[in-house]
């Protein structure tokens, strides 16, 4: 199948200090040319570390570099999965309470293998390469910078 020539392909990347909207991310990724939208929603998990309860996360980013890294990532995705149509990624900054979404990624493609693989790759690379950091904040106010283990 020849990769299609779609001038309307969209990349939508956003860092937000307010609650993320699943609807907004998925609407930005949907297309009448696509039968599949694969979505990943990362949420703050209830967690207890060494007996201390995590009450939320505090996110920080090197914002201008986030944009440039995500643009590079989009180019890599479009090279590996030329049938991918739209890519939309919203990431929270600042305070995120337990249970809230910290990141939502949606990718559309005519067929689901492409959207599934691309969204997974996108999340893996986001965690490995995009300059964002989170601090776990514990009950009582202590906190600790986190490190992605993948």
């Amino acid at each position: 199948m020849e990769p299609p020539d779609w001038p309307e392909r969209r990349d939508v990347f956003k860092l937000c200090s307010d609650a993320l909207s699943l609807q907004e991310v998925v609407e930005a990724a949907r297309s009448p040319k696509c039968g599949a939208v694969s979505v990943f929603l990362g949420t703050t998990r209830e967690d207890v570390v060494n007996g201390r309860k995590v009450i939320g996360l505090e996110y920080q980013a090197y914002e201008s570099m986030v944009q440039s890294e995500l643009s590079k990532l989009s180019r890599v995705i479009r090279e590996r999965w030329p049938h991918v149509m739209h890519i939309c990624l919203h990431h929270r900054l600042g305070w995120v309470s337990v249970g809230e979404a910290s990141v939502i990624v949606a990718v559309s493609a005519p067929h689901r293998r492409d959207s599934e693989e691309a969204v997974q790759f996108c999340v893996t690379q986001l965690k490995a390469l995009v300059p964002i950091w989170k601090k776990e904040v514990f009950e009582g106010g202590q906190c600790r910078w986190n490190e992605n283990s993948e």
């Binding site: 990362g42 996110y59 920080q60 980013a61 090197y62 201008s64 570099m65 440039s68 890294e69 990431h91 910290s102 990141v103 999340v123 986001l126 965690k127 490995a128 390469l129 995009v130 300059p131 964002i132 950091w133 989170k134 601090k135 910078w145 986190n146 490190e147 992605n148």
Partner: protein, 94 residues
């Protein structure tokens, strides 16, 4: 200084993130560096200014003009005034 070496002094903007901001107590500062300078050279200079940063040794990279550079990289980089150098502790986005 050896008279055969030509070098320039540039004032770059150093950005500190996550634990490096806690260790230095700074989010950013102007730093004068002799350029060309390698990733390794930048890291030596930053540790000289903030010895506390050595706590991150082995677990960080730099970003120079938004491109990752290893702290043991010996490739010389020509920096200009206002160029961004960021201290990048282990990432934890997502």
């Amino acid at each position: 200084m050896n008279s055969k070496q030509i070098c320039f002094l540039s004032q770059v903007k150093v950005l500190y993130f996550a634990r490096s901001a806690d260790l230095t107590g700074l989010r950013e500062e102007p730093v004068s560096v002799a350029t060309p300078i390698s990733g390794r050279g930048l890291w030596v200079e930053l540790q000289r200014r903030h010895p506390s940063l050595s706590a991150l040794q082995g677990a960080l990279v730099l970003a120079v003009r938004q491109e990752f550079v290893a702290v043991d990289d010996d490739q010389p980089l020509l920096l200009g005034d206002g160029d961004e150098v960021a201290v990048v502790p282990p990432l934890s986005g997502g």
